[in-house]
Protein backbone atom coordinates (compact mmCIF):
# COMPACT_ATOMS: atom_id res chain seq x y z
CA UNK A 1 0.00 0.00 0.00
CA UNK A 2 1.18 3.51 -0.78
CA UNK A 3 1.61 5.77 2.25
CA UNK A 4 -1.46 7.81 3.18
CA UNK A 5 -3.09 10.13 2.37
CA UNK A 6 -4.48 8.81 -0.93
CA UNK A 7 -6.38 11.18 -3.20
CA UNK A 8 -9.14 9.98 -5.54
CA UNK A 9 -10.75 12.00 -8.29
CA UNK A 10 -13.81 11.42 -10.45
CA UNK A 11 -14.98 13.62 -13.31
CA UNK A 12 -18.69 13.92 -14.02
CA UNK A 13 -20.04 15.34 -17.28
CA UNK A 14 -23.73 15.94 -17.75
CA UNK A 15 -26.19 18.21 -19.51
CA UNK A 16 -29.88 18.95 -19.08
CA UNK A 17 -30.84 15.29 -19.60
CA UNK A 18 -31.01 12.63 -16.94
CA UNK A 19 -27.84 10.81 -17.92
CA UNK A 20 -24.30 11.81 -17.04
CA UNK A 21 -20.94 10.13 -17.51
CA UNK A 22 -18.43 9.39 -14.79
CA UNK A 23 -14.81 9.12 -15.80
CA UNK A 24 -11.25 9.19 -14.63
CA UNK A 25 -7.96 8.56 -16.37
CA UNK A 26 -7.40 4.87 -17.01
CA UNK A 27 -10.92 3.81 -16.04
CA UNK A 28 -13.86 2.85 -18.25
CA UNK A 29 -16.58 5.46 -18.45
CA UNK A 30 -19.71 4.76 -16.45
CA UNK A 31 -23.14 6.12 -17.24
CA UNK A 32 -25.14 7.34 -14.29
CA UNK A 33 -28.67 8.64 -13.83
CA UNK A 34 -31.21 9.05 -11.04
CA UNK A 35 -32.98 5.81 -10.11
CA UNK A 36 -36.55 5.10 -11.16
CA UNK A 37 -37.69 5.68 -7.56
CA UNK A 38 -36.62 9.31 -7.99
CA UNK A 39 -38.27 9.56 -11.42
CA UNK A 40 -35.06 8.80 -13.26
CA UNK A 41 -34.87 6.54 -16.32
CA UNK A 42 -33.79 3.53 -14.23
CA UNK A 43 -31.40 2.29 -16.90
CA UNK A 44 -28.09 3.47 -15.47
CA UNK A 45 -26.10 3.18 -12.24
CA UNK A 46 -27.68 5.66 -9.85
CA UNK A 47 -25.84 7.41 -7.01
CA UNK A 48 -27.76 5.12 -4.65
CA UNK A 49 -26.51 2.03 -6.49
CA UNK A 50 -22.97 3.42 -6.61
CA UNK A 51 -22.90 3.99 -2.86
CA UNK A 52 -24.07 0.45 -2.22
CA UNK A 53 -21.60 -0.85 -4.78
CA UNK A 54 -18.80 1.00 -3.00
CA UNK A 55 -19.74 -0.57 0.35
CA UNK A 56 -19.98 -4.06 -1.16
CA UNK A 57 -16.78 -3.89 -3.16
CA UNK A 58 -14.86 -2.36 -0.24
CA UNK A 59 -16.06 -5.23 1.96
CA UNK A 60 -14.95 -7.78 -0.65
CA UNK A 61 -11.48 -6.29 -1.13
CA UNK A 62 -10.98 -5.86 2.63
CA UNK A 63 -12.03 -9.46 3.17
CA UNK A 64 -9.60 -10.66 0.49
CA UNK A 65 -6.72 -8.86 2.22
CA UNK A 66 -7.58 -10.04 5.74
CA UNK A 67 -8.14 -13.60 4.50
CA UNK A 68 -4.78 -13.51 2.74
CA UNK A 69 -3.04 -12.27 5.90
CA UNK A 70 -4.87 -14.93 7.92
CA UNK A 71 -4.14 -17.67 5.35
CA UNK A 72 -7.84 -18.52 5.11
CA UNK A 73 -8.60 -20.70 2.09
CA UNK A 74 -11.97 -20.13 0.44
CA UNK A 75 -13.49 -20.89 -2.92
CA UNK A 76 -15.65 -17.85 -3.56
CA UNK A 77 -17.31 -14.86 -1.97
CA UNK A 78 -20.44 -13.30 -3.38
CA UNK A 79 -22.36 -10.40 -1.94
CA UNK A 80 -25.79 -9.02 -2.26
CA UNK A 81 -26.52 -5.74 -0.61
CA UNK A 82 -29.58 -3.75 0.22
CA UNK A 83 -29.77 -0.09 1.07
CA UNK A 84 -32.88 1.45 2.54
CA UNK A 85 -33.53 5.10 1.74
CA UNK A 86 -36.04 6.69 4.03
CA UNK A 87 -36.99 10.02 5.56
CA UNK A 88 -35.91 10.37 9.17
CA UNK A 89 -36.24 13.58 11.14
CA UNK A 90 -36.96 15.50 7.95
CA UNK A 91 -33.91 14.21 6.07
CA UNK A 92 -34.03 11.70 3.22
CA UNK A 93 -31.00 9.46 3.50
CA UNK A 94 -29.80 5.88 3.67
CA UNK A 95 -31.20 4.70 7.00
CA UNK A 96 -29.67 1.22 6.84
CA UNK A 97 -27.44 -0.90 4.67
CA UNK A 98 -27.50 -4.69 4.85
CA UNK A 99 -24.64 -6.74 3.44
CA UNK A 100 -25.27 -10.42 2.74
CA UNK A 101 -21.99 -12.10 1.90
CA UNK A 102 -22.06 -15.77 0.90
CA UNK A 103 -18.70 -17.37 1.48
CA UNK A 104 -17.89 -20.83 0.17
CA UNK A 105 -15.29 -22.80 2.13
CA UNK A 106 -13.83 -26.23 1.55
CA UNK A 107 -13.01 -26.96 5.21
CA UNK A 108 -15.88 -27.06 7.69
CA UNK A 109 -13.54 -26.47 10.64
CA UNK A 110 -12.77 -22.98 9.26
CA UNK A 111 -16.36 -21.79 9.68
CA UNK A 112 -15.86 -19.86 12.93
CA UNK A 113 -12.62 -18.28 11.75
CA UNK A 114 -14.21 -17.26 8.46
CA UNK A 115 -17.07 -15.65 10.38
CA UNK A 116 -14.60 -13.66 12.50
CA UNK A 117 -12.75 -12.51 9.38
CA UNK A 118 -16.02 -11.37 7.78
CA UNK A 119 -16.93 -9.43 10.94
CA UNK A 120 -13.50 -7.82 10.94
CA UNK A 121 -13.79 -6.96 7.25
CA UNK A 122 -17.01 -5.09 7.90
CA UNK A 123 -15.41 -3.17 10.77
CA UNK A 124 -12.24 -2.42 8.78
CA UNK A 125 -13.83 -1.39 5.47
CA UNK A 126 -12.86 2.24 4.91
CA UNK A 127 -15.99 3.08 2.95
CA UNK A 128 -18.26 1.80 5.73
CA UNK A 129 -16.09 3.68 8.23
CA UNK A 130 -16.72 6.88 6.27
CA UNK A 131 -20.51 6.58 6.48
CA UNK A 132 -22.86 7.48 9.30
CA UNK A 133 -25.40 4.93 8.04
CA UNK A 134 -25.32 1.70 10.07
CA UNK A 135 -24.17 -1.33 8.09
CA UNK A 136 -25.50 -4.71 9.17
CA UNK A 137 -23.83 -7.95 8.18
CA UNK A 138 -25.90 -11.07 7.47
CA UNK A 139 -23.27 -13.59 6.44
CA UNK A 140 -23.79 -17.09 5.15
CA UNK A 141 -21.13 -19.77 4.93
CA UNK A 142 -21.45 -22.74 2.62
CA UNK A 143 -19.16 -25.73 2.97
CA UNK A 144 -18.21 -27.66 -0.15
Amino acid sequence: MKPLPHIYRVHLAGGAGAHAVLSDAGLPELQTAPPADFDGPGDAWSPEHLLLAAVESCFLFTFQTIARNSKLAYTSLELSGEGIVDRKEGVTRFSAIVLRPTLRLTASNERDRAMRIMEKSEQACLVTASLSTPVRLEPEIIIG
Partner: protein, 137 residues
Protein backbone atom coordinates in the same frame (compact mmCIF):
# COMPACT_ATOMS: atom_id res chain seq x y z
CA UNK B 1 14.41 -6.60 13.37
CA UNK B 2 12.66 -6.80 10.01
CA UNK B 3 9.46 -8.67 9.20
CA UNK B 4 11.23 -11.80 7.93
CA UNK B 5 13.38 -12.19 11.03
CA UNK B 6 10.27 -11.51 13.19
CA UNK B 7 8.41 -14.30 11.39
CA UNK B 8 11.40 -16.66 11.61
CA UNK B 9 11.75 -16.08 15.35
CA UNK B 10 8.06 -16.70 15.99
CA UNK B 11 8.20 -19.84 13.83
CA UNK B 12 11.22 -21.17 15.71
CA UNK B 13 9.84 -20.45 19.17
CA UNK B 14 6.30 -21.66 18.39
CA UNK B 15 7.70 -24.70 16.57
CA UNK B 16 5.67 -24.10 13.43
CA UNK B 17 6.38 -23.20 9.81
CA UNK B 18 6.67 -19.58 8.72
CA UNK B 19 3.29 -19.57 7.00
CA UNK B 20 1.63 -20.56 10.29
CA UNK B 21 3.75 -17.99 12.14
CA UNK B 22 2.50 -15.24 9.82
CA UNK B 23 -1.10 -16.19 10.64
CA UNK B 24 -0.39 -16.11 14.39
CA UNK B 25 1.43 -12.78 14.16
CA UNK B 26 -1.39 -11.17 12.19
CA UNK B 27 -4.04 -12.40 14.65
CA UNK B 28 -2.10 -11.29 17.75
CA UNK B 29 -1.15 -7.94 16.21
CA UNK B 30 -4.77 -7.20 15.32
CA UNK B 31 -6.13 -8.10 18.75
CA UNK B 32 -3.33 -6.43 20.74
CA UNK B 33 -3.48 -3.26 18.69
CA UNK B 34 -7.26 -3.03 19.09
CA UNK B 35 -6.77 -3.48 22.87
CA UNK B 36 -4.71 -0.24 22.87
CA UNK B 37 -5.85 3.30 22.25
CA UNK B 38 -5.28 4.42 18.65
CA UNK B 39 -2.64 6.87 19.97
CA UNK B 40 -0.71 4.17 21.82
CA UNK B 41 -1.00 1.80 18.86
CA UNK B 42 0.44 4.53 16.66
CA UNK B 43 3.26 5.24 19.16
CA UNK B 44 4.16 1.55 19.23
CA UNK B 45 4.09 1.44 15.43
CA UNK B 46 6.60 4.28 15.30
CA UNK B 47 9.14 2.03 17.06
CA UNK B 48 8.75 -0.80 14.54
CA UNK B 49 10.52 -1.20 11.18
CA UNK B 50 8.39 -0.24 8.18
CA UNK B 51 7.24 -3.74 7.16
CA UNK B 52 6.13 -4.61 10.70
CA UNK B 53 4.58 -1.19 11.13
CA UNK B 54 2.41 -1.80 8.05
CA UNK B 55 1.29 -5.16 9.40
CA UNK B 56 0.64 -3.74 12.89
CA UNK B 57 -1.41 -0.81 11.58
CA UNK B 58 -3.30 -2.68 8.86
CA UNK B 59 -7.07 -2.16 9.13
CA UNK B 60 -6.74 0.24 12.06
CA UNK B 61 -9.09 3.18 12.32
CA UNK B 62 -8.23 6.33 14.25
CA UNK B 63 -11.83 6.67 15.44
CA UNK B 64 -12.15 3.13 16.75
CA UNK B 65 -12.89 2.34 20.36
CA UNK B 66 -10.56 0.24 22.51
CA UNK B 67 -11.73 -3.40 22.58
CA UNK B 68 -11.59 -3.89 26.32
CA UNK B 69 -10.97 -7.61 26.34
CA UNK B 70 -9.57 -9.52 29.28
CA UNK B 71 -7.20 -12.43 28.89
CA UNK B 72 -9.77 -15.18 28.32
CA UNK B 73 -11.67 -13.30 25.65
CA UNK B 74 -8.44 -12.00 24.11
CA UNK B 75 -7.14 -15.55 23.75
CA UNK B 76 -10.46 -16.75 22.34
CA UNK B 77 -10.44 -13.96 19.74
CA UNK B 78 -6.85 -14.79 18.72
CA UNK B 79 -7.78 -18.48 18.56
CA UNK B 80 -10.78 -17.63 16.39
CA UNK B 81 -8.83 -15.36 14.06
CA UNK B 82 -5.86 -17.70 13.69
CA UNK B 83 -7.82 -20.95 13.59
CA UNK B 84 -6.19 -22.28 16.75
CA UNK B 85 -8.03 -25.23 18.26
CA UNK B 86 -7.89 -24.43 21.96
CA UNK B 87 -7.16 -21.59 24.32
CA UNK B 88 -3.98 -23.17 25.74
CA UNK B 89 -2.49 -23.30 22.27
CA UNK B 90 -3.58 -19.69 21.74
CA UNK B 91 -1.86 -18.68 24.99
CA UNK B 92 1.44 -20.15 23.79
CA UNK B 93 1.06 -18.37 20.47
CA UNK B 94 0.23 -15.05 22.12
CA UNK B 95 3.15 -15.33 24.56
CA UNK B 96 5.51 -16.11 21.68
CA UNK B 97 4.40 -13.14 19.60
CA UNK B 98 4.44 -10.89 22.68
CA UNK B 99 8.04 -11.91 23.41
CA UNK B 100 9.29 -11.25 19.87
CA UNK B 101 7.32 -7.99 19.73
CA UNK B 102 8.94 -6.82 22.96
CA UNK B 103 12.34 -7.47 21.40
CA UNK B 104 11.32 -5.57 18.27
CA UNK B 105 10.34 -2.69 20.56
CA UNK B 106 13.81 -2.82 22.11
CA UNK B 107 12.76 -4.33 25.43
CA UNK B 108 14.12 -7.58 26.84
CA UNK B 109 11.61 -7.82 29.69
CA UNK B 110 8.55 -6.07 28.28
CA UNK B 111 8.91 -3.25 30.79
CA UNK B 112 11.25 -0.84 29.02
CA UNK B 113 10.41 2.11 26.75
CA UNK B 114 7.49 1.66 24.39
CA UNK B 115 6.91 -1.90 25.63
CA UNK B 116 6.12 -0.45 29.05
CA UNK B 117 3.56 1.92 27.52
CA UNK B 118 1.89 -0.99 25.72
CA UNK B 119 1.81 -3.02 28.94
CA UNK B 120 0.41 -0.14 30.95
CA UNK B 121 -2.79 -0.17 28.83
CA UNK B 122 -3.45 -3.87 29.37
CA UNK B 123 -5.70 -5.28 32.09
CA UNK B 124 -3.96 -7.10 34.95
CA UNK B 125 -4.38 -10.61 33.51
CA UNK B 126 -2.98 -9.61 30.11
CA UNK B 127 -0.17 -7.65 31.84
CA UNK B 128 0.81 -10.93 33.51
CA UNK B 129 0.88 -12.68 30.15
CA UNK B 130 2.94 -9.82 28.67
CA UNK B 131 5.44 -10.02 31.55
CA UNK B 132 5.66 -13.81 31.56
CA UNK B 133 6.27 -13.71 27.80
CA UNK B 134 9.30 -11.49 28.40
CA UNK B 135 10.56 -13.75 31.18
CA UNK B 136 10.04 -16.90 29.07
CA UNK B 137 12.01 -15.58 26.09
Amino acid sequence: MNERSFVRQVAERADCDERRAETLIFAVFQELRDRLTPKEASDAAAQLPMSLKMLWMSFDRPDRKVRRLHEGQFLREVARMAGVDDVNEAEVAVATVFAVLQEALGSSTGTEGEAWHVMSQLPTDLKQLWLSAGARA
